[in-house]
């Protein structure tokens, strides 16, 4: 797959290679290297030898430490505390997994996870992640473009949106047993078709070169780096191409607070807090948090601003 260009790092912010490689004892491999999800360790070890050659390894900013990426999560299916998903997701056994693609497509199909990986492979994408709660990370995902899967499904004329549905397993997900003190389950999300087809839009199956841990949305999740994190629906079971704007979980919960688009925008505040800046997770100290100004479209304006030409981003927040 042709490399897609996206914002690159300032040299000063790049973690020294040796440091980064050593922390990833299990190396995912270079850009474009494909991994089998299960048993990825053997493949990864085989790829370690080629890691030194990865001089072109793209790194927008300093990646957030792996332990923070996997222990500071919003995944309300497991609980509302940031530590809950890592702590309380042990009962969730995602494999075997399949994803159903249906709706306005010529080739509806239920894909086994292995077949998705075999067909579309995995590449590494280092993306910024901006949570609507005004904190951010930089995360090395592994996965493939949603566009590739959608092209295989072949959307019909009149298709305008893509709806996503997450998993519903109350017996394995304590957050789904909380009744009124929760969202409505299963979690649902949606994108406009052109957003879904954008090359930045990723279906992630791994992080830091390893299969997605349960707390990060195992085994397959959406990553839309120019939107607030809640758009990145986790543990996807179904993708439906449709002609109307699909419902989205947080919008159903509080429509005046969480829009359908949810594009990162420092000029459009959340009704209850400012979005002008963000806390950088993994940096700073107990008595001094690290903060930085938030960028329009999370720094991906050059790539995605065109999708929203002529729209009032205050109205369609």
């Amino acid at each position: 797959m042709a490399a897609y260009r996206y914002p690159q790092p300032r040299a000063s912010e790049i973690t020294p290679r040796s440091y980064f490689l050593s922390r990833r004892a299990v190396m995912a491999g270079v850009v474009g290297t494909t991994l089998a999800l299960a048993g990825s360790e053997q493949v990864a070890q085989a790829a370690t030898g080629t890691a030194q050659n990865a001089s072109g390894w793209p790194a927008p900013e300093k990646p957030t430490p792996q332990n923070d990426v996997t222990h500071y999560n919003n995944f309300y299916e497991f609980g509302t505390d940031k530590g809950d998903p890592a702590e309380l997701s042990g009962a969730f056994k995602p494999l075997p997994w399949s994803v159903q693609i249906d709706g306005l497509v010529d080739n509806p199909r239920t894909w086994a996870l292995e077949d998705l990986l075999k067909q579309f492979g995995q590449e590494e994408r280092l993306y910024r992640m901006r949570c609507v709660e005004a904190w951010s990370m930089v995360i090395p995902w592994n996965g493939f473009s949603l566009a590739a899967l959608l092209k295989a499904a072949a959307p019909k004329m009149g298709a305008r949106y893509v709806a996503f549905t997450s998993v519903l397993r109350p017996s394995e997900m304590p957050g789904q047993r909380r009744g009124l003190f929760a969202l409505k389950w299963p979690y649902v999300e949606g994108l406009r078709l052109d957003e879904a087809m954008h090359p930045l839009t990723l279906l992630a199956t791994g992080v830091y070169g390893e299969a997605l841990p349960t707390q990060n949305g195992a085994p397959i999740r959406l990553v839309v780096p120019w939107k607030y994190g809640f758009k990145g629906i986790k543990s996807i079971t179904r993708i439906t191409v449709t002609d109307r704007q699909p419902p989205t979980s947080w919008n159903l919960m509080a429509p005046e607070e969480y829009g359908f688009y949810a594009n990162v925008n420092p000029a459009v505040d959340h009704p209850r807090w400012s979005q002008a800046s963000e806390q950088i997770i993994g940096e700073g100290s107990l008595f001094h948090t690290a903060r930085k100004p938030t960028q329009l479209f999370n720094g991906y304006a050059e790539q995605v601003a065109g999708l929203y030409q002529g729209m009032d981003l205050r109205k369609d927040f």
Partner: protein, 206 residues
């Protein structure tokens, strides 16, 4: 129950004031532990917000406990009146730490961000009001202030109940969804208020 055994006074080797101070110091331990862990890097990926939230919860807990002292004595017969003041001061101390972590550590004293926060987030308004009340009560809790205020002291310190109500609102609407914990605290607060409403004459019948 006709006879609640009156608590026997056990002799303590410490004077009442010493006991008050010891209780206060003992319950500063959770704060010390959080800060020690935060500095050691074992408080998770966001130690600042862990401290911020822990201290807020402790402030609320001590406020509830300090307001439960009177009903405990009236209806249960447990007399910990001696500790009401240190418990109230603990509520204020934790509230002050909570505010410090928000204003200084999380927001870097940035007046622009703080103004935006305070003007757009109703839950913060209730938080500020709660803190102002607690500060007023803490500063009038010295023996000298009690004497100087005379009869006015008691109605002034009834504001603690208002602080409790504001704290319930502050905590309940601080989250993106309804949470169980603030709900539990609110139920306790309602019980405390309800017991306060029981007329004095009914004391012996309960």
């Amino acid at each position: 129950m006709s006879s609640i055994p009156s608590p026997r006074r056990r002799r303590s080797r410490f004077s009442p004031v010493t006991r008050q101070v010891l209780l206060y110091l003992f319950f500063l331990l959770p704060a010390a532990m959080d800060i020690a862990q935060g500095m050691a890097g074992t408080l998770g990926p966001n130690p600042t917000s862990a401290c911020l939230h822990d201290f807020g919860r402790y402030a609320f807990r001590f406020l509830l406990v300090s307001l439960a002292v009177t009903p405990l004595k009236r209806f249960v017969g447990v007399d910990i009146m001696l500790y009401r003041r240190p418990l109230g001061l603990l509520a204020f101390t934790y509230a002050a730490l909570h505010v410090f972590f928000y204003v200084v550590v999380a927001r870097h004293l940035d007046t622009h961000i703080l103004w935006q926060d305070f003007s757009s987030r109703p839950f913060l308004t209730f938080g500020v009001l709660t803190f102002l009340i607690l500060a007023a009560l803490a500063s009038t809790s010295t023996r000298r202030a009690i004497r100087a205020l005379g009869r006015k002291w008691s109605p002034l310190h009834k504001l603690a109940y208002l602080a409790m109500i504001f704290a319930c609102i502050h905590y309940s609407i601080a989250f993106k969804t309804w949470h169980v914990e603030p709900f539990i605290y609110t139920v306790i607060a309602i019980c405390v208020l309800a017991l306060r409403m029981v007329p004095r004459s009914a004391r012996r019948k309960v």
